[in-house]
Subunit: 386 residues, 2 copies
Amino acid sequence: MLNFDFHNPTRLVFGQGTIKNLGKYIEEYGDKKVLLLYGKGSIFKNGVYEEVVNSLKEYGIEYVEMDGVKPNPVLSKVIETVDLMKREKVDAIVAVGGGSVLDTSKISAAAYYYEGNPWDFYEGKVYPEKALPIYGVLTISATGSEMNSGGVITNEEEKKKWGWGSKYTYPRLSIVDPSVQKSLPRNQTVNGAVDTLTHVFEAYFGGTSGTLMQDEFSEGIVRTTMASVKVLLENPEDYEARANLAWAATLALNGLNGLGRRGDWASHSIEHSVSAYYDIAHGEGLSIVMPAWMKYVYKNDVEKFARFGEKIFGIVKEDKEEQALAAIEAYKEFLRSIGAPVSLSERNIGEEHLKEMAENAVLRGPLGSLKKLQAEDVFEIYKLAL
Amino acid sequence: MLNFDFHNPTRLVFGQGTIKNLGKYIEEYGDKKVLLLYGKGSIFKNGVYEEVVNSLKEYGIEYVEMDGVKPNPVLSKVIETVDLMKREKVDAIVAVGGGSVLDTSKISAAAYYYEGNPWDFYEGKVYPEKALPIYGVLTISATGSEMNSGGVITNEEEKKKWGWGSKYTYPRLSIVDPSVQKSLPRNQTVNGAVDTLTHVFEAYFGGTSGTLMQDEFSEGIVRTTMASVKVLLENPEDYEARANLAWAATLALNGLNGLGRRGDWASHSIEHSVSAYYDIAHGEGLSIVMPAWMKYVYKNDVEKFARFGEKIFGIVKEDKEEQALAAIEAYKEFLRSIGAPVSLSERNIGEEHLKEMAENAVLRGPLGSLKKLQAEDVFEIYKLAL
């Protein structure tokens, strides 16, 4: 186990009927005027917009609105958001939506105090010294962004989809009401579950030993996620399954799962390059990329992949390498069973840009820790995923 | 799953060689003069005192000392501590030790701003509005006090051993260096492990359903704790086992394990009454009391006790009640195997005060949530534990 330094100051309010208290919390923390940031309108269908706005009005919180944050959120939207915030001199951001809205809120909260291009934070040219407070209202569980400091933004012009965060960009408070996720389309529930699983795997397969407590924690999240998504595909309205899936998603990336481990994170970069080139959901991209990554790297930690097989799928074989390979197959089979794609061709992606995408994926240097990956390795992984 | 509101602001610095940075952290947070609070001298033997004091000196942090905090810490010591702090006008407390020192620091930090008897907080006569910052340096993993807001103090005169906490009494920062625990006496390692297990069980067996994620989390802590303590009884110097046991102990009571659940906590109150009457370690008391409690209440949730048997001990029987009973026996057997007591008589406690102790245990009302316990129930549990 590696040494670690953990500090997650986000307050998480979780459960049915909790959104109506949003205004009360904001009032208690003393903020008067907020930017209300959201996406493309699903919050009008599931009733969350109304609940949020009613609560803000009830507690006399003034708000200005910015809508239109896209999945795979983009830099141009961040710039537009920051401009509005500066003109309107808001005290805080209320981010209502999923990972894309939360992620947009984080860079915007920091860029509020910066005069240059927000992308400078992503390039490491500048570091924040403060950020506006963020209040999150989550409408889809997937990225864990409601309880961590990070966010992924796509710079469309430069085709860069990168992550960034700072200790100032943890939401002050996030509300997770799993019941509002009952109306999610099937594929979004599935993508969220895959994203959660992948977050766990990025830490779990990072090649650090002596982490029994973390491994148990990871495996618990994985089993919970798999069981809950199966229930929800049968009955999308099952509250307990929604709640367990939501809590699993938050735990998968609120920092705990990565403690004492190096983490790998190659698969995320490999996927980001896919969704920078093609309009594909992050969860779908991960579903395609991760099993291919597993196949390419498992020899660097056969024991861990074998353990994965036993603890998640009950696979025990005399030959540990066979057990590891069977585990990877079982994971692919699980993905198929929930209707998630496991190959690029299922999303009509061919060999056309693979070389370019591989070069793009390693722009910030070689990827991963279990096995260091150069562009040619990433290219091989893309080919395995065809 | 019940709704919850989680906010744990403690920063946790974990790992080998981390204590030497204590002074740097205190300096960064801007505190100049601290109370150095510790116990009965084990920190002189394991080198922690020297490390702490050297770090304070290196960063120019002034300190005054208060030693002599006992296991099962007492109110008179709290009063003495608060008096010293007021005379010396300190900015913060540095609590070096285990749960007893951390627990003493919490009530002292709040009582610093109060003129009356600190026990008033425990009686609910007064509520804090602030508290001094606390820096923890942990020397034994057991109570989770390094990353939660609570503390248990014994009012010797009134024979009350009660818990209390507030949102102001989370340590600002705690350092957990598992390597300093290598020199712990065998029985203290065992008691710490039992305390950890019991914290998990208090939430796990509370009778709340729909908590798959939490159950998985609990079971992971239990398996990690059991495996790690077994390794340490063979080789007390095994760093990875120390680290896993330490992290498990923190996770067992930093709030996460209880989220979305009612929690039971009867066993803790039943034990507190034992150690208010007899000089017995908290972990020993829990080791004796909890299996007796399990036997007395399991019928109220046969399914959960049966699950416990399967997930922890691999026990599967056709009759779920038999499975539940076998699980309780297996747990007792585990306790025996690590040298923990499972009966009052092993600690020379007879029937003499049992009635009185049972009355004492319910002074603040009936106990538990899985089964509401009155004094006569507690008396029966004590008799089962004889």
